[in-house]
Symmetry: C2
Subunit: 366 residues, 2 copies
């Protein structure tokens, strides 16, 4: 219906599936079961309570999440979590939390944690330009850390952990903003998972937090209400007016994952095929397209690469745009090219991009 | 087009104008000037920078806001401001800030301020059941308070200040969440104005803050980035991913206010006429409809009233709903009936409600 939306490779907010966009569009004038615009329905209505309950249930079903986890829908993005987590788990502590510094976003998380309490960086990829991730032999976890924090997928650099890090006796806290619900996940191995919506599961404006009940037992009691996970748990995510629209779109995405895609195993297969297409094009380009990340740590979500020089990159981006592709410019901190392959991007779109890349390379190397 | 939306008297999120809803609907699949879904456009795009710039300009134009004010678009609602304000202006202070306790929401603001520093409640309507507001002779402002905080319109109780409070030598901080851009406002008399969008200017998920530059001069430097107004000022409201969709809808509302309504003086006339219709119905009902608020302090936004008993109120609400009206139940803390008359509600809708009330009263008193 809209070819530009289909070819949107933006790093985020990312493309959403067309069937969901059509339902969202309808809801702007009229949510079918209510008759009112989604923008004018009270967050205290029975309808919205049912939205939150169904969405929570869908996330539990998709992830097989045990009952001792709370599912919260908050505002403020991952950035607010960068602060809320150490406010809750690190304030007043003398033993440092373990943090990994694997790219742009984990650097931001680290800086906010350091304001709140002691932090130990157990690995940093900064000196290597964030081109790879540590192996298990490079990671010495503290057995007495209040928690371990890491980011499962670094959106800017295109790096992704393909395993669960940490020790079972130290709470794992993981920012899954850019790969949440893109693949199955053994959620019960984490004490807290957070993910803003605007990559794989909805628009900007809402953040999902899964938190194990026991993690909050010793949390400070003097936090502002909106920064206290327990306020939001007690109020079923309606502590104050929540972002009703964004939460409703996330519900539609989870319905799409369950009913149209058929679950996260199937979603992961599709995402894997999109990434394989792109990485094959890089690997078989005789160095024309140069992947940023080391092969073992490449992200299935963000394929980052460079061309011979910035002039060629500019020409590539301009021609891609003229051909209807958008969102391919790399993050402003790194430059280069980034093709983001979130849930909403179709396999057909990845095929089209690979076709374009093939043509561009042939023309340039003719 | 959708009669139910037209008759939505919800206390918030409130009804938005139909012409805006139609533009929003279009943008879900395609923002005209971009070609992409509004949900998938990067917040770092030129388009979004232009949205923020135009919206800021529109607010400046509507309010005649001087250049020494910053215009910010934040997340977390008024609730986040309840904390951010004392974190910024009260932490480490020994002189208390002046707070008014005029209803449900100012009580929430007060409780959060008390966590952060010393607070003096200069007037409370609690013992009187929040049925009126103080006159000038009841208010003894502290000349050395770091600031004065009050709420211009108490949504739950239907109380509104029809004047500016405070002293010119003490910064005024005002929560205008439920009457912002519903009427002209001498914004330059305040040091900080905040308003979440979901009453008069958009959907839930974004909060407008107008802050005078000098107010932040002595703010603490150790706040988390997302709770520091200066981070957001420096980043032009893109410190982290903002709620792109909600901000875009607020832009469309400001365009509607400027181009379709013709400015805030005209908007205030319409809002006044709607309120006059309702209050006349109350005043001329021989006590059938009993206004909650004292006449001098009645809100132009939220008309709150009771009927003879809760059974009659229930019947009123049920018949109103059957007739297509929605959102008329009073806040869960007070019960009764509340008709909210935000910008998006048309004069014709207020006329229809008054007609319904008239009929209901005749039937009951026949």
């Amino acid at each position: 219906m809209n070819q530009l939306n289909n070819l949107n490779f933006s790093g985020g907010p990312g493309a959403l599936p067309e069937s969901v966009l059509l339902k969202v569009q309808q809801s702007i004038l009229e949510v079918p079961e209510v008759g009112l615009s989604v923008l004018g329905i009270s967050h205290r209505s029975d309808w919205f309570a049912a939205v939150v309950a169904e969405l929570e249930g869908n996330i539990r079903k998709l992830l097989g999440l045990p009952d001792n986890y709370h599912v919260l829908f908050l505002q403020g993005g991952a950035t607010q979590q960068f602060s809320m987590i150490p406010m809750t788990l690190l304030r007043g502590k003398t033993t440092p939390a373990d943090y990994l510094h694997t790219g742009y976003w984990s650097g931001k998380a680290l800086a906010e944690a350091e304001r709140e309490g002691p932090v130990r960086v157990i690995w940093s990829g900064e000196s290597g330009g964030f081109k790879d991730l540590p192996g298990d032999d490079e990671l010495a976890y503290s057995p007495d850390a209040p928690y371990l924090h890491y980011i499962s997928n670094e959106t800017v650099e295109g790096l992704q952990f393909h395993r669960v890090l940490g020790r079972d006796d130290v709470p794992r806290v993981c920012d899954m903003s850019s790969d949440f619900l893109s693949q199955p996940c053994t959620a019960e191995r984490y004490s807290l998972i957070y993910a803003h919506a605007q990559k794989n599961i909805g628009p900007a404006g809402v953040t999902v937090v899964l938190v194990r009940d026991e993690l909050l037992e010793d949390a400070p009691t003097d936090l502002p209400g909106f920064l206290d996970y327990r306020s939001h748990i007690k109020a079923h995510s309606i502590f104050n007016t929540p972002p009703v629209f964004a939460i409703y779109v996330v519900l539609l995405i989870t319905r799409w994952l369950l009913d149209e895609i058929g679950g996260l195993t199937r979603m992961a297969e599709i995402n894997r095929r999109k990434a394989d297409l792109l990485y094959s094009q890089l690997d078989n380009s005789d160095g024309f397209y140069r992947g940023r990340a080391k092969t073992k740590d490449r992200s299935l979500m963000n394929v980052t690469f460079n061309l011979a020089d910035t002039d060629t990159e500019k020409r590539f981006l301009a021609e891609a745009q003229a051909a209807g592709f958008s969102g391919l410019a790399g993050h402003r901190s790194t430059g280069g090219v980034r093709a983001s392959l979130y849930n909403g991007l179709t396999l057909a779109a990845a095929e089209q991009l690979v076709g374009f890349m093939e043509d561009f390379r042939r023309k340039q190397t003719r």
